[in-house]
Amino acid sequence: MADPFPRPRLLPSGDSAVTVEFSRTIDETANRRVLALDHALAAAGLAGITETVPTYRSLLVHYDPGVIDHETLCARLLALSAGSLAPETDIRRWRVPVCYGGENGIDLEDVAKALGLTPDEVVARHVAGTYRVAMIGFTPGWSYLSGLDPSLQMSRRQNPRLATPAGIIAIGGIQTGIQCLAGPCGWHLLGRTAMRTFQLHREPTFLLEPGDEVSFIAVDEKTFAEQERAAEAGELIAERIAA
C-alpha cells in the first residue's frame, strides 16, 4: 500500500542534528506523525542518535556524525516516517487538579468577558476537554497541550508578563499550556496546579511525556494549598487514570 502521508522535509540543523519537518503549521496529524517517528526511532535503536526533541510539527534529531553519516540517517528517517501512526493503546493518561480563577487565575474574568462567557462556563469548557501533550519546550517542563475547545481560542496577550508563578495553567491561541517553573508568560492565566511537571530529586524528574493525554479537574483553594504541600514533599499530584 502506498504511503498515505506526504514525505517529511529533512532540514539540516548544523553538523550534528537534522530537523524532520512534517508540517509548517500546527496540525494534529503532523504532531501524531512526529510522535510516531519519535517512537519508531527509539524502537529502532539506531546507533549514533543522541537525543530527539519532538515539537508540534517536527522532530529534531541530534546525532553523532562520527557514528552515523548524514545521508544514512536521512534515509532511515524517511523510511521510519513512512510507517503508520503510533497505536493509541499505550498512551498514558493523567488527571491534573487545577484551582481556577481568583489570585491563581487572574485572567479568568477577562477571558470570560472577551469570549462572551461566564467564568464558570470557561472553566467548564476547559475541564471538559481531553488534551494531548504536543511538545515540551521553552523552559523545563513547559507543556504545550493540543485539544483546546475552539470556543476558548483567543490571541496571546499584547504584553507578555515578565513574572508568573510556578504551575500556571494558561491558554493562548489554539493551545493550552502548563508552565512548571515561575517565569515570563504571554498567555492568559486561568488557574494553577500544584503538579510539578519538573521536580528535582523526585522520581520521575519529568512527569509528562510528549504524547501523554491530560484532562483537568477543578479543585478549591484549600485543596490546592494542601496539594502544594504534598507536591513539595515529592508527591506527583497528577493522577494516572485508565483509558
Binding site: G14, E51, V53, Y56, P65, H70, F198
Partner: protein, 344 residues
C-alpha cells in the same frame, strides 16, 4: 583539605562542564562551557578529564585565594592579565597557589570567557550527569547560580608535579555555518546580505543568545513560524530583522525562522568574539562542516599529549598533533560519549 575561595568575581561567571544532555525533549537546555576547547585545554593542564567542570569566568576580573593548603589551577580561554602574589601567570599554563596566596585575574582582552580548572576537578552533585549551572532551572553544583564572592571549592592538596603549559593552534577567519533549517524563509538576496555583511555581537548578549548588529534581514513570509527545536549555534531571525545566535543556555524550542547554524568547530570561536568586533559568516557544505567537526574532535583528543612541562623547551606540537589524530570517535557535544567526565 585545601579550598579555593572566590574572594571577588564579576557577573556571568559560573561552573560549567561539557553540558547536560538527554532532557532537551523536556525543555531542559544543555548549558555547558561556551568554549569547550578552552575548557578542555585548562582541564588537560591539571590532568582532569577534558570535559570536567571548571570555573567559566566572564569578561570581568576575579580573585581567588587558596585556604587550608596549596591548590593547583590552570587558565585557558580569553586572554587576560593574571598573577599569583604578584608573580605573572601566562595563559594556557598551570600554577600552584600556596596556602593563603591570591590569584588575581584582570579583564578579558580579545575574548569573553576564560576557564579556571582546579586540579582534581570540582566536587559537586551531578544532575543529569552534569555540574553545569543553569540558573533559570535551578541546576548546577556546588552552586546552582552564578558564582559570588565567598563561594568555596573543596579540593585535594596540590600535587607536587611540575607546572605545565600547552600550545593551542590559532584559528581565525569567518565563522562557518551550514545554511538552514529555515533558510527557505529568506530570499536569495537576504541570504547574500547575511553572508556578505560584517556583524558584531551586541553588548546585551549572554549565555542564552548573542544578538547581532548589522543589516536588517527581512523574511519572505513573516517572522512567526510554529516553534521547533533549536541547537547550539542556531541563528534565528526575529521580527526586527536582527539575528540572534542561540547559545548554550538557549530555549530548547523557538518560533522564529532559523537562517543558518554555526558549525560545532567554530561555535567556541563565536562565543569568544567580543562585543563590537566585526566578523563574517561563511556558508559551508554539510560534508565540509562534518570534516571540520572530525578535525575539531581530533584536536580535543590530542590536548593531553600537547601538554608540556612549563620549563621544557620542546616545541614540536604540530608533529605531536598529527601523531595523535587516530582513535575512536568522541562527540565534543555529547557528554555521554565522554567517559567519566563528571566526578561522580
Amino acid at each position: 583539605m585545601s579550598t579555593l575561595v572566590v574572594s571577588q568575581i564579576g557577573p556571568a561567571s559560573s561552573v560549567q562542564d561539557g553540558g547536560r544532555f538527554g532532557a532537551q525533549r523536556y525543555g531542559l537546555t544543555p548549558s555547558g562551557a561556551m568554549d569547550k576547547l578552552a575548557l578542555a585545554a585548562a582541564n588537560s593542564l591539571v590532568g582532569n578529564e577534558l570535559m570536567a567542570a571548571a570555573i567559566e569566568i566572564g569578561p570581568f576580573g576575579a580573585t581567588f585565594v587558596a585556604k587550608g593548603g596549596a591548590v593547583r589551577v590552570a587558565l585557558s580561554g580569553a586572554p587576560r592579565p593574571a598573577d599569583v602574589a604578584k608573580r605573572p601567570v601566562e595563559m594556557n599554563t598551570s600554577v600552584t597557589l600556596s596556602d593563603g596566596e591570591k590569584l588575581t585575574l584582570g579583564f578579558a582582552r580579545g575574548g569573553s570567557f576564560s576557564y579556571l580548572a582546579i586540579e582534581g576537578g570540582i566536587a559537586g552533585e551531578p544532575m543529569f550527569d552534569s555540574l553545569s549551572v543553569n540558573a533559570r532551572a535551578g541546576l548546577g553544583s556546588p552552586y546552582p547560580r552564578p558564582l559570588q564572592s565567598g563561594d568555596v571549592f573543596e579540593t585535594a592538596p596540590a600535587s607536587e608535579t611540575p607546572e605545565m603549559r600547552i600550545e593551542l593552534p590559532r584559528t581565525s577567519g569567518a565563522i562557518r555555518v551550514v545554511m538552514g533549517p529555515q533558510d527557505d524563509e529568506f530570499s536569495d538576496e537576504m541570504k547574500a546580505l547575511f553572508l556578505g555583511s560584517d556583524w558584531t555581537v551586541s553588548a546585551t548578549s549572554d549565555r542564552m543568545g548573542y544578538r547581532l548588529e548589522g543589516p536588517v534581514i527581512r523574511h519572505l513570509h513573516g517572522h512567526n513560524i510554529v516553534s521547533d527545536g533549536t541547537v547550539e549555534g542556531s541563528i534565528q531571525v526575529p521580527g526586527n530583522g536582527s539575528p540572534i545566535v542561540l547559545m548554550s543556555d538557549r530555549g530548547t524550542s523557538g518560533g522564529y525562522p532559523k537562517i543558518a547554524t554555526v558549525i560545532t568547530a567554530d561555535y567556541g570561536r563565536l562565543a569568544q568574539t567580543p562585543a563590537g568586533t566585526p566578523f563574517r559568516f561563511q556558508a559551508v557544505s554539510m560534508a565540509e562542516a562534518q570534516a571540520e567537526l572530525r578535525r575539531y574532535r581530533d584536536l580535543l583528543r590530542s590536548l593531553p599529549d600537547r601538554v608540556r612541562e612549563l620549563t621544557s623547551s620542546e616545541f614540536d606540537v604540530d608533529a605531536l598533533f598529527t601523531a595523535n589524530v587516530a582513535g575512536h570517535a568522541v562527540s565534543a557535544t555529547d557528554v555521554t560519549t565522554w567517559p567519566g567526565v563528571t566526578p561522580d
